[in-house]
């Protein structure tokens, strides 16, 4: 597995994208890699476009952004449109089937996050869910490191349901 990764997690405020970026980044550090996590956000505390960019490398990271993403998670049409025509064919796009309808990428997978969350019985665990989905498709970090990072970053009260969501995503 390659240790150099550029991942964009894009959607809207409130979907836990930046926290997910941190969880992924910490897992990469546990694996012994360097990481750089940048986010862009608007001035509103809730809603609006939001994204996290994670760069993982064996060595020093110069450019902290994703110059050539290997994976794009697009949870909204706006997020999809922002990047879908700019990424290379090597970049895997994971998009939300319910929110993204106007899509025509070559290398992409749709996932019904809403349905999965309803099955799980909790709408607030979308970030743990998509981290599972991402890991199912790409070996970015080890599942052990990811579980460890999830446990570190999520309060004990809601850890169980988040780990369950992560596992669910991993198995779909």
């Amino acid at each position: 597995m390659s240790k150099n990764w550029q991942i964009i997690l894009a959607g809207e405020g409130g979907q836990g994208l930046i926290l997910a970026g941190r969880i992924l980044s910490e897992a990469a550090i546990i694996d012994g890699n360097s990481v750089s996590l940048t986010s862009s956000y608007g001035i509103a505390a809730r809603g609006g476009y939001s994204e996290a960019q994670v760069v993982i490398s064996e060595g020093e990271i110069y450019y902290p952004k994703c110059a050539s993403p290997d994976l794009l998670l697009a949870l909204t049409q706006q997020a999809y449109d922002r990047y879908a025509d700019k990424v290379t064919d090597d970049c895997l796009i994971i998009y939300d089937k319910k929110d993204v309808s106007n899509n025509n990428g070559k290398n992409e997978v749709g996932f019904d996050f809403k349905a999965a969350l309803l099955t799980l019985g909790n709408l607030k665990v979308i970030n743990s869910l998509f981290l599972g989905v991402i890991l199912k498709h790409r070996d970015i970090v080890s599942t052990e490191s990811m579980s460890e990072s999830l446990k570190k970053n999520i309060p004990p009260k809601i850890q169980e349901i988040n780990l369950k969501a992560f596992q669910y995503g991993l198995e779909q």
């Binding site: 941190r22 980044s25 360097s34 750089s36 996590l37 940048t38 001035i43 450019y63 902290p64 110059a67």
Partner: protein
Amino acid sequence: MSRPEGIQLMEGNHACAWGAIDAGARFYAGYPITPSSEIAEVCARELPAYGGTYIQMEDEIGSMAAIVGASLSGKKSFTATSGPGFSLMQENLGVGIYQEVPCVVVNIQRVGPATGLATQPAQADVMQARWGTHGDHPIIVLCPATVQEMYDFTIRAFNLAERFRTPVILLSDQVVGQTYENISLPDPASLKLVTRKKPGVPPEEYLPYQPDENLVPPMAAYGDRHILHASSTCHCETGYSNFKYGTNRQLLTRLKDKIYNYLDEIIEVEHFGPEDADVTLVSFGSASRVCKYLVGEAEKEGIRVNLLRLITMWPFPDQEVQKALANTGACVVAEMNQGQVINEVNRVNTTNTPVHLASGIDGELIRPEIIMTSIREAVK
């Protein structure tokens, strides 16, 4: 929360706050402003456990004043802000420089002027950091580019402030301040910390502005038996106001010389990439990271590129830039403004090396293609 240890993921602003705490800062006064507020939040949470104090002032004018005051009372002190707040701090930054008060001002640059883009990066306060407060004055400004450097350079900023008895500015930007990276925090006991020199004479002989052999006056603290009189008016060695002909020249000359006579202790640059190059990039802060990335990218196009990164922005590294210009075919200055550092580069360009500007003013980290376009132009 206890002090984080070992290798971990940390935000640049958090790393800055921990650097300050590890450097011995025990007083923070500030006014919240995006994208610097995390520094205030860490200080509010952590300083009490270190016997320190956090205070949220009514504005940035008061914040700058309060850190000057606390430093005169003997505490290492600092504040953090961004664009509009940095503008408000200029007034009392001048008081700090003139009264020779060690303290650190962190500016996490965002897009301006005015409110600009509050959450987005720029590097357009370079000249404000140099000349923002009125009057003739020297200033020391450091530019970190990574989360690790937010920690390391904050400590260095305090050390320089204490060594030279002057405010030091940590000129960062939104990208560096709010990026999360892996960082390794050293054992605080292993750090080399500098503390201001105390008076070596009995109280009755103490003159608070009588310089030592290195032009820096030893510093008493309020509450000491050595009486400290700090004035924002032209003053002589007693610290009291003095309007005699010659006093102003003597004071301004010493303030300049105490720093410019010791540039070797202050100036720091980084050379990156091959020694011989077709194009030398000059950059700093977050933009310099894009330049590092492009050293490799340009090579794929057959262009040999290296980078001179300015770690100390002020005093400007005249000699280092001059030397780099003399040893290259062309120069591209990459900065997230419409051209500030480029004027300084041209000022020392005695070899008439062609100098191009790569200007990032889109409210984001300067895109590689902007700099790459300038590189291609430079080798045409």
